[in-house]
């Protein structure tokens, strides 16, 4: 069952009524299909309306929806022969960032993705998508592998941020993020990043300074969470909706600001209502972004030069 979002209440009420009608239809031999169809049409209409004018704060809720496509479900659907690779060769294995090699529409790629987990057990296992330094160092190792074998890198961003903890600091969280960022800027191989849900600050940009940045229609990407921003600038986390608006953190905002290169459309009512359809559009968008990146048989050195230029002038 879908986890309900507060602003979806009118739709959820309609869905509940359809469910009631179905139950009713099973007991008596009534034909309620006409009524059901009418309600379904109504749902479709109100979803389109609701999602057509989501506020930034509502979008943050959608971006964090537990039924949204996550890195593992995207990899399972899009990557054939996925072979997970583990460990940073320095300290440990961090399951907040999963990675490996596999085929995207027949072509070998290196995949790096932040995984939040879907239920309590897997959320704990993946530390809610909040990586320790090991996660970033594993990502770097995989980028090195990609370069050695001239494979494109595809990264999936979905994290509240890098983990803020004693051990993470001890083992150099800041250094790990900085080096990972540096590695991503230096590899001489195509690099496409896609924000699936939540792009949380430094923990996200570490694996996303790519040739092309894609964003799901209802994903968000920000320097700080709206709650964090509100508690600093408004002195209360309750002002998060205002902060979400002020931060300009939606896919459309980032596209308009020239940070995101493309917006991947989601099914009506958000990717959580039809994850597979959303994932297929994402797959197509990644393939075309890779195609654009490599157009004209560009060399690895040229890719690196262009990527560097892109970021040297970002922000004006």
């Amino acid at each position: 069952m879908l986890t309900p979002l507060a602003f979806e209440r009118p739709v959820l009420e309609l869905e509940a009524r359809i469910e009631d009608l179905r139950k009713l239809g099973q007991h008596d031999d009534l034909d309620l299909s006409e009524e059901t169809q009418r309600l379904e049409a109504q749902i479709e209409k109100s979803l389109a309306q609701l999602y057509g004018k989501l506020t930034p704060w509502q979008r943050v809720q959608v971006a964090r929806h537990p039924n949204r496509p996550r890195a593992l479900s995207v990899i399972n659907a899009l990557i054939d022969d996925f072979t997970p690779l583990a460990g940073d060769r320095l300290y440990g294995e961090d399951e907040a960032i999963i990675g490996g090699i596999g085929r995207l529409k027949g072509r070998s790629v290196v995949v790096i993705g932040q995984e939040k987990g879907g239920d309590t057990a897997s959320r704990v296992k993946h530390n809610f998508g909040m990586a320790h330094p090991e996660g970033y160092r594993k990502a770097m190792r995989l980028m090195d592998l990609a370069e050695r074998f001239k494979l494109p890198v595809v990264s999936f961003v979905d994290t509240p941020g890098a983990f803020p903890g004693i051990e993470a600091e001890e083992r150099g969280q800041a250094e790990a993020i900085a080096r990972c960022l540096q590695k991503g800027l230096e590899i001489e191989t195509p690099f496409v990043a896609a924000v699936l849900g939540e792009g949380g600050s430094g923990g996200a940009v570490a694996i996303a300074a790519a040739d092309k940045l894609l964003m799901f229609e209802h994903s968000v990407y920000s320097v700080i969470s709206p709650e964090g921003c509100a508690s600093i600038l408004w002195r209360s986390a309750e002002q998060a909706p205002e902060a979400a608006e002020a931060l300009r953190m939606t896919a459309k905002d980032l596209y308009d600001l020239g940070v995101a290169d493309a917006i991947v459309p989601e099914p009506v009512g958000g990717a959580h209502r039809d994850p597979q359809a959303a994932i297929q559009s994402l797959g197509d968008a990644i393939v075309s972004a890779l195609g654009e990146t490599e157009a004209g048989g560009v060399t690895g050195a040229e890719l690196k030069r262009r990527r560097r230029e892109r970021f040297l002038k970002i922000g004006g």
């Binding site: 983990f163 803020p164 800027l185 320097v223």
Partner: protein
């Protein structure tokens, strides 16, 4: 010319001028609480004479401390869009910027200058914590890129002195993008074969620590500086534990292998000059080699006079060089010629 200029104006200025008060003359050390006379504090480079606490200082003070006495050029920083998001919380971002400029002077949080440090060509970029917490927005990012380019143009070493709470959230995602921007700039410096030295000062956290601040060829920190990724309050809230003593201090980072050295403000210029020389003038060290290898006794005797630069960290020998940087260079160049390497 007139009595207005000669008499009235000075009178008005006198009325308006603040007379020095007790609080101007004495400053309290934020660490130990000791009251310190301002002249003593200036003389001590804003380091508490009682507890050695290194107080925060601005860009101009840094330039004066590090560059040789023959002067330095303050670099003009590029203009960037002032308020790209039209950001407004309880206050407009543009008003916050105006306040910061009124308090700190024109520009933004990053200032840079080119000159010499103990004779070595260097560009020094300083983040000023007093300017909106040293936060990094497009102006800081663009300034960093410009400073790196200036270093490359001048074939100078690049020194970044950091003090920052992180990214400037009023610039939203564009402030986050300054992380890859500054890292990309360091790529150019690396290609040019020039050294990058970071001096981490209190505090260095967030997006600044997770980008250019942690990528130095050599990483130096001032004693006691707070350095880390996440803020202590955030960590406490996340893990619900008290933090260990000295957590995220310079010495803690040293113990965990994250930085090369902790250097006092008094020793900083000499250390930077020495490191830059070692990295940028590799043949100068060679000039001392034959003596060290051939005759240990002789080399030992010569050490205080010649090789003292390398052997005594931050000693007087290295600082003495600052006064006549050219002379020893020519001498050693001749010595290299006279004693061909084998």
């Amino acid at each position: 010319m007139s009595w207005i200029e000669n008499y009235v104006r000075p009178r008005i200025q006198q009325l308006v001028r603040r007379t020095p008060t007790q609080s101007d003359l004495w400053r309290q050390c934020p660490a130990c609480g000791q009251m310190i006379f301002h002249q003593d504090l200036d003389r001590a480079q804003m380091v508490c004479p009682n507890c050695s606490h290194h107080m925060r200082i601005g860009a101009k003070a840094r330039f004066d401390l590090l560059f040789d006495a023959d002067g330095h050029d303050v670099l003009t920083m590029p203009q960037t869009p002032a308020d790209p998001l039209k950001f407004r919380d309880q206050k407009r971002y543009t008003d916050r910027l105006k306040d910061a400029v009124n308090k700190n002077g024109p520009g933004d949080a990053l200032k840079a200058a080119a000159g010499r440090i103990d004779g070595m060509p260097a560009v020094v970029a300083v983040l000023d914590f007093a300017f909106m917490g040293g936060s990094m927005g497009a102006a800081v990012g663009a300034g960093f890129v410009a400073s790196v380019r200036a270093a490359i143009e001048r074939k100078a070493g690049f020194v970044a002195i950091t003090a920052s709470g992180g990214a400037r959230m009023q610039e939203g995602i564009l402030s986050l993008m300054q992380m890859p921007r500054t890292v990309a700039a360091l790529g150019m410096l690396k290609d040019a074969g020039l050294p990058y030295i970071v001096v981490l000062t209190d505090p260095t956290t967030g997006g600044v620590s997770a980008s250019f601040a942690m990528l130095g060829d050599i990483a130096i920190a001032e004693p006691g500086a707070g350095i880390g990724f996440a803020g202590q309050r955030v960590i406490k809230e996340t893990i619900g534990q008290t933090l260990p003593e000295g957590f995220q201090r310079a010495e803690y980072l040293y113990d965990h292998g994250m930085i090369d050295m902790v250097v006092t403000r008094a020793e900083m210029k000499a250390t930077l000059g020495r490191v830059l020389s070692l990295l940028m003038q590799p043949t100068r060290a060679v000039a001392n080699l034959p003596a060290l290898v051939a005759d240990t006794a002789k080399a030992d005797a010569a050490a205080p006079a010649q090789a003292g630069v390398a052997l005594k960290p931050g000693g007087k020998a290295s600082r003495a060089r600052a006064t006549e940087p050219k002379q020893p260079e020519t001498k050693q160049a001749e010595a290299t010629k006279a004693e061909p390497r084998t």
